[in-house]
């Protein structure tokens, strides 16, 4: 059993902790660095930037990804932008404000020192990306342009069209390529990590499967870095790529790494609604659209009129009504719940009433009239001119919407509905980004540390790159200095052989079941169950129900799944089977965590804990009825779950969250 959980947050004032920590961190001299080998699993923003930066420092690096190229990691799909506390707009931004916005945005469930460091490093990230040739949007004078994002009142988001994630990833990928070309990084694409290997209590390597030949092999090293992204696909339908999975962190958890706050998932308010049971994924419409788009639902229930036929006074611009100070730029958790409230009230639009409108009519006219000579234009002419401007700002998003729905967002409002997008929970890490397993580091979405119970828009890219470019390269030395490089176990060590055997046995088990249902059928069933019982709203009853149904589904999976083909070739069903088997275990931990957290916070909404009309905070206008109600007295902590083996329930530990600077308050966006 694990003893006291030590976050290793340095002492001293908040704004000098990171500087002091870097000075006090152990260094490894250049000629020794090359003796150390580090494995990086995952090649998204966090993985690619970490692999490249560690190689630049002189470490031997191996990097693994399941895709056919590191450039395809799902960071590529991030649309809107990346935050950086540059205050280039002179609108009152600062490191402290970004820090405060992020802590508040996370509903006071993030680790203060980590968030402050993230805000400090954010400015360096922008510089680094510019140096690498990321083509950020520019003003005519050649300076960097900014836009606003949810949960903030300043413009601090840097962007490259609606493809910022793509450009940032290609920047990190180019650095990674440089180091691969120089022989400092060995890249293993189409390779999936299936086991973590621990020798004498330290993470010393991994077992992987070559997804083309099926070959199982071991890699030993002095440290293992997981940058494998989030677990949103436990819901089957999400905005994640199809291949995103929880396997690497889950394998680590089962070897003793703590899993923190697994119930913290982010539901993004503006996604294209589900259209049928065959649907394989959900597509996000960037939060940046809420800079100009207005969310509304009809005031009348079951209103089947076309949106254009609904007069102004019969529209409920619910975000502007409920949260006037932030309006359409309310944070994601709040905007999602507000959309759900409209639909639950019978005022949803589109098939099944699962949708609200995101309307650009007013923005298009405003832009059209804002052009030279625009004031005197007719509505049609202003619309045409304004459309051009909106196209320049968000064209690729409107195109995507059109391809999927065959509707034009310029001519009629988009229909959107919340969907699973990001997971704030992840493997527990200390201030050095090391898990409780010595030598195992976790970066990016795969760790838990910076976003609390809700992540603000444009902060995922920031965190991934902060972890990879700047934090891990500075902190990994603290661990490596404690291990002698020549003491690394060989890849034929008994622990590696045992892990390989476990992987082979599992593979043979999958292939031998020969049941009646496909892997996808199980995955869909699990996803629906998780969405219904552990989705946007959770109750003690729904979670208890989920906890009794998941083990039954899991049992059925292990007796009735059909995985055709063989283990020695490219076998898509086999790959999926491994991932879904892990989701079937992980889903249970998520529900357990959601059940034990008897409060609401951020994206974790327990119906039992919400503000009502009777609360003074609602009467005084601070919050709305239906807003989440935290319980700081009992739950101002990180829930850290320890694997209990196949028979015991997982153990819940806590890391208290100590706020030295920010005072957790009622989170008001009114």
């Amino acid at each position: 059993m694990i003893g006291r959980i030590d976050s290793k947050v340095p002492s001293g004032p908040l704004d000098s902790k990171w500087e002091n920590h870097k000075f006090e961190s152990k260094l490894i001299n250049p000629s020794n660095k090359r003796k150390y080998s580090v494995l990086v699993v995952g090649s998204g923003l966090a993985g690619a930037s970490a692999a490249a930066s560690l190689a630049e420092l002189g470490y031997q690096v191996k990097c693994f990804c399941y895709q056919d190229s590191p450039r395809r990691a799902h960071s590529i799909a991030a649309q809107g932008g990346i935050n950086g506390a540059k205050n280039y707009q002179g609108d009152g931004d600062s490191v402290h404000r970004l820090f405060y916005d992020t802590v508040k945005g996370g509903d006071f469930r993030a680790r203060e020192a980590n968030v402050h460091r993230l805000a400090e490093v954010s400015v360096d990230i922008i510089d680094q990306c510019v140096a690498l040739g990321v083509p950020f949007a520019r003003e005519y004078g050649g300076l960097l342009a900014n836009r606003s994002f949810g949960g903030t009142q300043v413009s601090r988001t840097f962007y490259a069209r609606g493809q910022t994630g793509q450009q940032l990833l290609l920047g990190a990928y180019s650095s990674l390529n440089r180091m691969i070309g120089a022989g400092s990084v060995q890249m293993f694409p189409r390779t999936e990590m299936l086991e973590l290997v621990i020798v004498d209590g330290h993470a010393k390597g991994i077992v992987v499967r070559d997804m083309v030949t099926g070959a199982i092999s071991s890699h030993s090293a002095d440290a293992v870095v997981l940058a494998t992204g989030g677990y949103g696909n436990v819901y089957y339908l999400s905005t994640n790529a199809k291949g995103c999975n929880v396997t690497a962190p889950w394998r680590a958890y089962k070897k003793g790494a703590l899993f923190a706050n697994p119930c913290f998932t982010q539901i993004h308010p503006t996604c294209i609604p589900v259209s049928g049971s065959y649907q394989s994924k959900l597509t996000l419409m960037s939060e940046s659209l809420r800079n100009d788009g207005r969310c509304w639902a009809p005031k009348k229930k079951s209103d089947t009129r076309k949106p254009g036929d609904i007069p102004e006074d019969e529209r409920d611009y619910y975000l502007e009504r409920m949260y006037p100070a932030f309006g359409n730029l309310a944070p994601r958790d709040i905007a999602s719940r507000a959309a759900k409230m409209q639909c639950d009230d019978g005022r949803g639009v589109g098939p099944g009433g699962f949708g609200v409108y995101l309307d650009f009519r007013d923005a298009i006219l405003r832009y059209g009239r804002g052009t030279i000579g625009g004031a005197n234009l007719s509505e049609t002419e202003a619309h045409a001119r304004g459309t051009e401007k909106v196209k320049a700002l968000y064209g690729n998003l409107f195109d995507m919407y059109h391809q999927i729905t065959a509707e034009s967002g310029y001519e009629q409002p988009m229909r959107v509905y919340p969907a699973v997008h990001y997971t704030m929970g992840g493997l527990w890490v200390d201030y050095n980004l090391m898990s409780n397993v010595p030598g195992l580091f976790v970066l990016g979405e795969a760790n838990f540390s910076d976003h609390g119970a809700n992540r603000l828009g444009a902060s995922a890219l920031m965190q991934g790159l902060a972890d990879g470019y700047f934090i891990l390269p500075a902190t990994i030395g603290n661990y490596l200095a404690t291990v002698a490089p020549d003491k690394r176990p060989k890849a034929d060590h008994a622990e590696f052989r045992a892990a390989e055997e476990a992987v082979n046995a599992r593979t043979q088990k999958f292939l031998s079941i020969k049941g009646k249902k496909t892997v996808d059928e199980f995955h869909r069933e699990l996803g629906l169950l998780m969405w219904d019982l552990c989705g946007m709203a959770r109750t003690e009853k729904s979670l208890t129900r989920a906890l009794s149904r998941i083990p039954t589904l899991r049992e059925e999976f292990w007796t009735n799944v059909n995985v055709p083909g063989s283990s020695d070739s490219l076998n898509v069903s086999l790959e999926k089977a491994g991932r879904v088997a892990d989701f079937l275990e992980f889903g249970e931990l998520m529900c357990l965590d959601a059940l034990e957290r008897r409060e609401s916070c951020g994206g974790h909404f327990r119906e039992e804990f919400q503000y009502t009309e009777k609360d003074p905070e609602v009467q005084s206008g601070k919050v709305c009825a239906g807003d989440v109600k935290r319980d700081d007295e009992n739950f101002c902590h990180v829930a850290c779950w320890e694997y209990g083996g196949t028979t015991l329930k997982p153990l819940r530990h806590t890391e208290p969250l100590i706020y030295e600077v920010v005072h957790p308050a009622v989170r008001s966006y009114r």
Partner: protein, 251 residues
């Protein structure tokens, strides 16, 4: 709708492949092309057959993984990528040919999946700016005129899918290489390595067995990221200038 599919099936890199007839029944027109294949695969699996292997990941048109040639055209009638193609573009009873991207430099590894490592090696040869993490000056210290930033962005939008190669009768990768060369040559940050970048990327491109451009413009027509063929002109110019300078020994 019901469809007749002719699908390329191939066990592995070293086996012979062939077109196999498969029917797709009761496909909703709102489904995407890849969701149609998901439905077919679920049925194949239930019958105990192996599903059709095809590459895909983000399913929102940006990762560049999906790589199907549909009725002979990379990404088929999609305006962008295969994953953004919806069945409403087809009619009940249609016969659809589904093949991998065809190019010497992209060997088939199974069914519809190809090996695009040649693209990786070209990028590794020079598709970068050398800027160590932590070494950068303030972002606004480098002014980039908006028109250059826009041109760089237009070229940088390449998703690396390889449709350009699959569509080109010569199997040329010049749109792909031209996109990266243009992106970095347009920016002040890309100037110090401009010459060596284009020379080494083109050398690697030739080594991988890609053909040269002879102005068919098929690449531009199928490119899901709308990379213009002008990047090829830019590539030629960059290469000629760099080659000439290199020959006479000036940087």
């Amino acid at each position: 709708m019901n469809l007749k599919l002719k699908v390329w099936r191939q066990k592995d890199r070293n086996s012979e492949g062939r077109l196999v007839d498969i029917t797709a029944n009761s496909i909703p027109p709102e489904a995407s092309f890849l969701e149609m294949l998901d439905i077919v695969n679920d049925e194949l699996t239930r019958k105990g057959d192996e599903p059709i292997a095809f590459d895909h990941d983000c399913r929102e048109g940006i990762c560049g993984t999906c790589s199907l040639s549909i009725n002979g055209i990379p990404h088929g009638p999609s305006e962008t990528t295969t994953c953004q193609l919806y069945m409403r573009k087809f009619s009940d009873g249609d016969t659809i040919y589904i093949e991998p991207f065809r190019a010497k430099a992209f060997p088939v590894i199974r069914d519809l999946c190809v090996d695009r490592m040649a693209f990786e090696r070209i990028q590794q040869a020079g598709g970068f700016i050398t800027a160590r993490a932590g070494s950068a000056q303030d972002g606004n210290a480098i002014l980039v005129p908006k028109q250059n930033a826009d041109l760089a962005m237009e070229a940088a939008a390449c998703i690396g899918c390889g449709a350009c190669v699959g569509a080109c009768p010569n199997g040329s990768a010049m749109l792909f290489v031209g996109a990266k060369v243009t992106h970095l040559a347009e920016l002040p940050q890309g100037q110090p390595e401009r010459q060596r970048r284009v020379l080494s990327m083109v050398a690697q491109m030739d080594k991988e067995g890609f053909g040269n451009c002879s102005n068919y413009y098929e690449c531009e027509a199928v490119c899901p990221a709308e990379i213009p063929a002008t990047v090829i002109a830019k590539l030629n110019r960059e290469y000629a200038v760099a080659g000439a300078k290199d020959t006479v020994g000036v940087e």
